[in-house]
């Protein structure tokens, strides 16, 4: 009995370790390759440990486009054709503003559905829930036509604006406000608070955990988003990071793959940072958020 038990244990650990290895190896390979010299950037058999630590790859992926424009040649690097620094900036702007807008407006709407009474409340809630089930592909054509008609195509605004009204975010915030006991509201009314004050001074601060979850999920989604930017944007100066990474690969030619991989590392880091600070929130949000199509 004892022997069998320990065999089980060994098998369990072997299974977990082998799958972990399969997940970590490619990421590790990208990291160690991103630090290689151009001549060694792509070797077989693959080298698994960085030997040269060529940090210039990271410098080049950010700046070689601009150096080239200044007339300083940086070698046949993919990044000479890709304004990657601009794209990082664009991604930060798009992600930050989208999430800020989502968190605030969804908090308002979620609160309205959870705690306020107004005409047609049920109908309006039903409409919002129904739109949540429809995938992005159904709306993308009309939305593209719309932002083209109002002159927002190929702009960051055109990417941000349609992403702010989130049905899922409204639903999530409503759930959070429903969890907060309504006695707080009654107590505030007795103290003479107006409805606005009840929201702003009592519920809004108490809803922070919900806003954090929504913010993290929103960040993760929009930082990594590819489909909409690919369709909406057409000038490389307006591109976001995922488009930039693909562009780096397509422009590699004879350049160093290490520079491409340095760009990949830049695209992963913000998501990693968010993960480290908000692992719990992210998992919680994904469990709730998975309802979304």
């Amino acid at each position: 009995m004892r022997l069998k038990f320990s065999w089980n244990k060994i098998a369990t650990y072997l299974y977990l370790l082998s799958i972990s290895t399969l997940i970590l190896m490619p990421i590790w390979w990208v990291l160690s390759t991103s630090l290689r010299l151009p001549v060694e950037s792509y070797t077989l058999p693959p080298k698994w440990f960085p030997t040269d630590f060529r940090w210039e790859n990271y410098y080049e992926v950010l700046f070689s486009y601009y150096l080239e424009k200044e007339g300083i040649f940086v070698g046949a690097q993919a990044s000479a054709n890709v304004p990657f620094l601009h794209m990082l900036r664009n991604s930060f702007i798009v992600t930050f503003l989208t999430c800020l807008g989502q968190v605030f407006f969804c908090a308002f709407a979620g609160y309205a559905f959870a705690r306020l009474e107004f005409p047609a409340k049920k109908t309006l809630f039903w409409i919002i829930m129904a739109t949540m089930m429809v995938p992005l592909q159904v709306t993308i054509i009309p939305v593209y036509i719309l932002i083209t008609k109002i002159g927002l195509q190929d702009s960051l605004t055109g990417l941000i604006l349609p992403a702010i009204p989130s049905a899922f975010g409204t639903f999530l915030m409503r759930q959070y406000y429903l969890r907060i006991p309504s006695e707080l509201e009654e107590a505030s009314i007795i103290d003479g608070a107006t409805q606005w004050e009840i929201f702003w001074k009592v519920y809004f601060p108490l809803g922070t955990p919900g806003m954090v979850v929504l913010g993290i999920l929103c960040f993760n989604f929009h930082w990594n988003e590819f489909f909409r930017p690919l369709i909406f944007l057409s000038t490389d100066f307006n591109f976001t990071v995922p488009l930039g990474v693909v562009m780096l690969r397509d422009f590699k030619m004879t350049g160093s793959v290490s520079v491409v991989f340095a760009g990949i590392i830049f695209s992963i880091i913000p998501a990693l940072v968010i993960y480290m600070f908000g692992q719990k929130h992210l998992i919680e949000g994904m469990l709730t958020g998975s309802v979304k199509g």
Binding site: N8, T12, Y13, L16, S20, L22, I23, L24, P26, I27, W29, Y42, L44, P45, F105, F108, A109, A112, L116, E117, F118, K121, I127, T131, V134, P135, Q137, V138, I140, I141, P142, V143, L146, T148, P162, P165, S166, T170, Q195, N224, F226, F227, I231, P242, V245, V246, R249, V257, V260, I264, I268, A271, Y275, Q279, L282, I283, M286, L287, S290, G293
Partner: protein, 297 residues
């Protein structure tokens, strides 16, 4: 002094004020476009020339279009394969992690399985292009050591969809895993103890105890996994632009090509709605199937 009536008025006013931004946004950017898509699917339109009524032409075209048939077939196969593999891996991994007692190891495995979910499909596809390269790829190098030579991961029409499945599953293992881990943690210890007393061990215990107990989660993970997978775009688009031939073309890639490359917005809308119909039908079927076999405690 606050009267009940003035309170109600205040609430209604603030409620409508709070709702206006989101409601306007959803009407303009989601609800409106859904209706417009529906209308558009009965028209020919390329934005530049006036809309022309097409009747059912776009839908008839969709039925006859061979590229569309290939794309939808790929999409369905892809979704079924990823759902089955993801759930098998997610279930067994969660079961294994549950048996790990050391809390640091537990944290380590959980973090690792979750890690690829944070990365974009675009980024993953880019470095996977290099890994799965036929001549210079890391994968083929190690396969050659065990005597398997030159698999055309991204160049063979037979293999490319399998490659996309592998890469997609690699990214999404953590999703089913986290769902199952959550389900296991809420399972009652008494049932497990009772089973053990009755002599259920090993595979038997998994099959007769664990699996039925987490069947609501299995069902949920399958529906959501399917809905996500039929919308796959980033991976096949970046890996091979849908090729070679149409071997890696999916439904959403078809929408992209038809609407945004060929500017046939009517036909594109018809395809999008067909995809939506599949998602909707799958959800209904699985909800119905659930009643038959899911065990609720």
């Amino acid at each position: 002094m606050v009267t009940l009536q003035s309170l109600r008025k205040q609430k209604a006013r603030l409620g409508l004020l709070f709702l206006t931004p989101i409601m306007t946004g959803i009407l303009v950017f989601t609800a409106g476009p859904i209706l417009f898509s529906l209308i558009l699917s009965f028209f020919y339109w390329d934005i530049f020339t006036p809309m022309k009524f097409a009747g059912l032409d776009n839908y008839l075209w969709l039925i006859e279009d061979e590229v569309a048939a290939a794309a939808f077939k790929n999409t369905i196969l892809f979704a079924i394969a990823t759902v089955v593999i993801q759930n098998t891996l997610g279930f067994t991994l969660a079961l294994s992690v549950r048996n790990v007692l050391n809390k640091y190891f537990k944290f380590f495995f959980r973090s690792v399985f979750f890690l690829p979910l944070l990365m974009s499909g675009a980024t993953i596809s880019v470095f996977m292009t290099y890994m799965f390269n036929t001549d210079f790829g890391v994968v083929n190098y190690y396969l050659s050591l065990i005597g398997i030579s030159q698999v055309g991961w991204l160049t063979s029409t037979q293999v490319v969809l399998i490659t996309t499945v592998i890469i997609y599953v690699w990214q999404h293992i953590g999703f089913a895993f986290i769902l199952f881990l959550g389900a296991f943690s809420t399972m009652s210890q008494e049932v497990l103890d009772a089973a053990e007393v009755d002599g259920a061990t090993g595979v038997k215990k998994i099959w007769y105890i664990y699996l039925p107990l987490v069947s609501p989660t299995l069902f949920f993970a399958s529906v959501i996994g399917f809905i996500h997978a039929v919308q796959v775009f980033d991976q096949p688009y970046i890996l091979t632009r849908g090729g070679p031939g149409d071997a890696n073309r999916t439904a959403v890639m078809l929408i992209y090509d038809v609407a945004f490359q060929d500017l046939e917005f009517g036909y594109g809308s018809a395809i999008a709605l067909a995809l939506f119909a599949i998602i909707f039908a799958a959800t209904l079927i699985q909800f119905w199937a659930q009643k038959k076999w899911v065990f609720y405690e």
